[in-house]
Chain length 380, copies 2
């Protein structure tokens, strides 16, 4: 944005900055690369090569984030080349979306070659490794819905908050039609942007709708973090603040501004990981607001159908009559603790639910699949 | 997103991650800080302190991006403390939005404490230094419009593209009302997200509308980079590709999906820096599509009213009859070359235009002000 950058802007950057880098024998630039960057590159066998230039650094590493990252365990030492570039090629990786960092002389930072995504509590590098088996989340030539940003005032936090809203492709075509709403939450350290960025929520929904597999619905994504305003008339515990935001502020704002089915039969709430636990908690506390629950890779340790969640599951007959859907899902490579046993205890107690497992660990590949499986079951 | 992170998620992160950090004698965390991060901190006299932990690094610097950055010239050497934190406090800075990097042992990377913004051709750290004189761009308790993301297929590039669209607060209230459209472009190295992120476009428009100072309008922001598909039936030059995207693909998509005033009287095009030059070029090439032009901090070197732009300015009377508004603006601390002389030559040639200058250099503070001044003049 200096003078010289402006001067070359139209001519040079239009060519340099955005030309798709060609595939070659070393692979193809990842779709999450900054336009024009050649690395990271994904080979046909899913080895990934990372490369950065740091001539003055003493040690450079690649650090996949988390205990079971699809890029591998790491950190991987990168090797210095004669020109000061540092490179590493991983063993074949799992497809899907993976967070990672570089470590430059001990300092953890982003890879300037990749897009950043809000995860791990900050703006973190991410890489998408295309998955031939995940065609359901690809951007196809089907009608596309929109992602909208809605600002609303929260009485619970006293702040202006931002919700992200998916509207289906036909939303603006018929001004009379009303739509059910799925409230959909991110995981710990992420934000309201996660499902539309890391999650490819809009493309998953577009494809389901194009195939006639799901009913048209709105999807509302809010930030799962909320701090109650100190001076609130009724004291709200920190752990309850998000649910109260949803019940008191978010749902009324959405129902006021969008053509919703504004009753419990027209509302579901789901989430992943921390968001799964929030979805379950909020739904059970506000059963008059929601009729369906989605629980993707949460944890319910020491679950007791008779006592947990204030006894909400104690009377299976009553629970089954009240809830139209309880969708419980995990990745097969996640720990079974608090997941498989949660499902089994529900089953033993006669609590009706859909149990779904798919390949993958605690990662977005799994949660995209969970959404894809659950959405067709909603609002039937 | 590990198990332990999940476990602490609801309880701890709700408190730790999102509590507003308190102001103290060393200042206040910048609004662009990642939630919970104490640095960068802005003091009352607008000195800014940056701090990161890098115990193993040999040298750490703060590097404001660009020749006339509001944070100062830099790079500033950061000083190592006994615990391995590195800090620097700048002299008083200019208010507004500034891009910057850290340099860790020669490696340029982002500050993990700050949000990233797409600028300088990659995801770059940014800091917002609140400007008491820029109340016009603050998020106030007025009705808020939405920011929408629209995907559309481009025949020019052969790709799916993403446009960002501001809809005014009343857009969904009256299904019959139609709206004029401002097409608004970012600068070199930025993206279609820049005006809604760095530019605070939605809050500027919300405030103007609440004050009754501008007419309700849509604002469409697209990516200024476009590479023509090689196999296009008619060869499109690289430098013409963006304009052809606008004319052939973007405008038809917007007019098909939104309730627009779908004629030249209902369309304006503006941009900043590289986007200013694109706006002028596209408008003059397609005068049947637009009736108004906004030029924020572009460069028109060696401008000749008789010959430049194919003689579009040669007949001032015809130009003045054709164009409802030509808004030409710069920051007073930018180079006058290709800016002040462009205005003076227009004036000498009798080409009617609005000339506007405000404090600031080649930076977002200036372009927010330009939009705020131009928008009330549009579609009158």
């Amino acid at each position: 944005m200096t003078g010289s950058l402006i001067a070359i802007g139209i001519v040079a950057l239009a060519g340099v900055c955005c030309a798709a880098a060609p595939a070659d024998s070393d692979g193809t630039p990842a779709p999450t690369n900054v336009p024009g960057r050649q690395y990271p590159r994904i080979a046909a066998d899913l080895r990934v090569t990372f490369r950065v230039k740091a001539p003055e650094a003493q040690k450079v590493q690649l650090a996949p984030r988390g205990n079971d990252n699809g890029l591998g365990a790491g950190p991987f030492d990168m090797q210095r080349g004669p020109d000061g570039t540092w490179s590493v090629t991983t063993p074949p990786v799992r497809p899907g979306f993976h967070y990672y960092e570089l470590i430059i002389d001990g300092f953890r930072c982003n890879d300037p070659n990749s897009a950043t995504f809000f995860g791990w509590g900050q703006h973190t590098s991410g890489i998408e490794v295309p998955d031939p088996a995940a065609d359901f989340s690809a951007a196809k030539d089907v009608p596309h819905g929109e992602i909208r940003t809605m600002w609303y005032r929260s009485t619970v936090t006293g702040q202006l908050r931002r919700a992200i809203i998916y509207t289906p492709p036909d939303y603006d075509r018929d001004a009379q039609k009303r739509y059910p709403v799925l409230y959909l939450q991110h995981g710990a350290g992420e934000s309201e942007l996660a499902w539309s960025m890391q999650g490819r929520l809009n493309f998953i929904m577009d494809n389901l709708l194009a195939d006639g597999r799901a009913l048209p619905m709105l999807v509302v994504m809010d930030n799962g973090y909320a701090t109650p305003v100190a001076a609130a008339a009724d004291r709200i515990a920190n752990a309850e603040a998000f649910g109260e935001v949803v019940a008191r502020d978010l749902i009324p704002a959405v129902d006021a501004r969008y053509r919703t089915v504004a009753n419990r039969d027209g509302r579901a709430i789901a989430g992943l990981s921390m968001g799964a636990m929030q979805a379950l908690r909020v739904a059970l506390k506000h059963p008059h607001l929601f009729s369906a629950i989605g629980w993707f890779s949460g944890i319910e340790r020491n679950f007791d159908p008779a006592a947990s969640h204030g006894g909400a599951f104690a009377d299976a007959t009553a629970f089954n009559a009240r809830w139209r859907l309880l969708f419980v899902a995990r990745g097969r490579h996640e720990s079974p603790d608090g997941r498989v046993d949660f499902h089994e205890k529900l089953q033993q107690a006669g609590v009706r639910h859909v149990w779904f497992e798919c390949d993958g660990a605690h990662e977005w590949r799994v949660w995209r699949r969970h959404l894809h499986e659950m959405a067709p079951l909603l609002f039937r």
